[in-house]
């Protein structure tokens, strides 16, 4: 017999009605009802828009396997975890989960600012489903893991955000579940703590736990999961080996609209039709050495006569940090398209970003950083350097030093 399934999901779907939240008071509801009665004979009001956050999703995960869930914001990843965690009920379908479930959808919800670290440890433990004895037994280990021994009797409102998150995650990580639902929580805290978290997940893996992991960070997905499920607009677009899923996802992301805009690419006044990343001489490239220059070529179409466009190319690190951006306006270049399409090229200064994965975002705005005319995601690229990584900050540049004092010797390299 093959490994038993830890999770079986069949035709799971969740429908939200847009506008359900609109009636925050009873009066609004009455007003709305009244309006709909009055309007009945005239123009029919459009029916409340229903939208499927998740639609007909089926999969099976064998016990002890890790699966990464990827997709743009709003693709349904978090909704899926919420359904599996029983926070909300599905509209259609069913799921069967065999094993003790621990869900970490957000770290530290339930902490009370006025209570001390010790008190919150017990409270949060109970919220996550641990018994008092269990928390008591693991208390030392929890405080140790969080590294906040000296502050355990201080109200958490006096904690730094780092300490707060560390304590919360520490409590959560002592749940010892058989099935863990993780939503992006590993990207919190400083690096030594993140390393601890990864170690914790590794340990869980060794104990044959099943882990469902939602993240935007393709690096973590690659290191943690052999299989990914890629959700797109609430449906499964890919389910299989990690590399294939990530390639598909990154391909789909290319030239797609940035999630915060809530507009489709064809609704923009300006549409970027191609973003090509090459080296200085124009050869396509996706891995750059620190200090190398990059050429970004944008092709675009305009839908109406416009002038003084501001093209902005931004580099966003895989953890969401916007690292730098180049704008035609700040660099004194004026773009006044005469035809309905055009090409624009950017050659960056020598890249001083540290070793990581970056995504290119392209924005087009009106002069003076007014109204956005386009906001799209372009390609991703890596920067490579053997020493400089995020421990060294966002970027690294060579500085000039001067050394005083009689015995000082400055050797030029």
């Amino acid at each position: 017999m093959s490994t038993p399934a830890a999770i079986q999901v069949e035709g799971l779907g969740k429908q939200y009605r847009l506008g359900t939240r609109a009636h925050d008071t009873f009066r609004d509801l009455l007003a709305d009802r009244f309006e709909s009665i009055v309007r009945r004979r005239g123009s029919r009001q459009p029916a409340k828009e229903a939208f499927w956050a998740l639609r007909d999703v089926s999969f099976e995960i064998a016990a002890g396997h890790n699966v990464g869930f990827i997709g743009l914001n709003g693709a349904g990843k978090s909704t899926l975890l919420k359904l599996l965690a029983r926070i909300t009920k599905p509209t259609t379908g069913r799921a069967r989960i065999a094993g003790r479930v621990g869900a970490l959808l957000e770290v530290g919800t339930g902490f009370h600012a006025e209570l001390t670290g010790r008190e919150n440890t017990f409270l949060y433990g109970a919220i996550l489903g641990m018994s008092k004895q269990e928390v008591r037994r693991k208390f030392e280990a929890i405080v140790d893991f969080a590294g906040i021994k000296d502050f355990i009797d201080t109200p958490v409102k006096r904690y730094s955000s780092g300490m707060y998150v560390r304590l919360a995650f520490s409590v959560a990580s002592h749940l010892e579940p058989e099935i863990l639902l993780l939503d992006e929580v590993l990207s919190v805290g400083d690096l030594p703590f993140q390393a601890k978290c990864i170690a914790f997940v590794k340990r869980l893996q060794q104990s044959n736990a099943t882990i469902l992991f939602v993240s935007h960070n393709m690096f973590s997905i690659k290191t943690m999961c052999k299989r990914v499920i890629y959700l797109n607009k609430g449906e499964i677009r890919y389910d299989g080996p990690t590399d294939g899923g990530i390639a598909l996802y990154e391909g789909d992301c290319r030239l797609s609209t940035l999630p915060w805009t809530e507009r489709r690419p064809d609704e923009w006044t300006v549409r970027v039709t191609e973003i090509a990343v090459t080296d200085e001489s124009g050869r396509p490239k996706s891995v750059f050495d620190h200090g190398e220059r990059m050429r970004v070529r944008l092709e675009y179409e305009v839908r109406q006569q416009l002038e003084a466009l501001n093209f902005i190319v931004a580099f966003v690190r895989s953890d969401g940090v916007a690292c730098c951006n180049y704008s035609t306006e700040t660099d004194g270049v004026s773009i006044d398209p005469v035809a309905d399409h055009g090409v624009i090229e950017l050659v960056t200064p020598p890249l001083s970003l540290v070793s990581e994965l970056y995504t290119i975002h392209v924005l087009v705005r009106k002069k003076g950083f007014q109204e956005a005319l386009s906001a799209q995601i372009g390609a991703t690229f890596h920067v490579r350097h053997e020493l400089f990584d995020t421990h060294f900050g966002v970027f690294h540049e060579r500085a000039e030093w001067s050394v005083g004092g009689p015995e000082a010797v400055v050797r030029a390299r």
Binding site: A98, H112, L115, F122, I127, G129, S131, Q133, K138, L175
Partner: protein, 281 residues
Amino acid sequence: MSETGGLERITPEVVEIDSRVFDLDLRSVWRYRELIYFLVWRVLKVRYKQSVLGAAYAIIQPVFAVAVFTIVFGRFAKIPSDNVAYAPFVFAAVVPWNYFAEALRGCSSGLVDDSDLVRKVYFPRLVIPLAMVMAPVVDFALSFLVLLGLLLLYGIAPGWPVLLVPLFMFQAMLLALSVGLWLGPINVRFRDIKHTLPFLIQIWMYASPVIFPVSIVPERWRFLYSLNPMVGVIEGFRWAVLGKASPDFRAMGLSALLVLLVLLAGLFYFRKMEQSFADII
């Protein structure tokens, strides 16, 4: 896993999630009883931490209310008090009334106050109203002690019925829960409850025999009046501590039955609504 802790106890081995199935599932509430304890504990801890006087409020508030009632309604308005001094007469009603009002308030607004939890963590949502009707029991106990002190001062010695005090409190608890299980989910959807509740509670107080005795209600209306469940609670409480006329147990039984029906329906309503709390809160 080497060490399996409380989770084993709390989450069942197999969780079935199904869009079509509805069940009342009170067992899961029982499994989460420790969370009820911690939520009650949190209410008390936080209150005593944030205020200088802390626990003293449980005493100060009813004492001042009774002082004002005694002066205004006892002295000026000369409202009769069944041949008992007005202060102990009204105090014996303020103690259960305050408990009820606080329990109802907490029960109705608890879900919204903890909306972060509701949105991000699974637990049987019934845990919240249950914790909210239990937390004010502590205040009730403290103010009850003050009441006993006052009785001593007035030379009133309660008889054996005083042992039934917990019973009347329990009835007030069930009543608060039965109403709160309806108001809580409505509050999630329509925040109007937040504005409506204070005056609902106030009107309910004047509709209950807090500042006056049931004996001033005309005889022929008395039975109907006694269907207000708080009438039985307050009259029963007065009977237990002051040893005066016993309440109309017939009406009390009927209203208790009503409360139980509302409570049962409330449980189903709450469970039904609970499934969408996280989506609309």
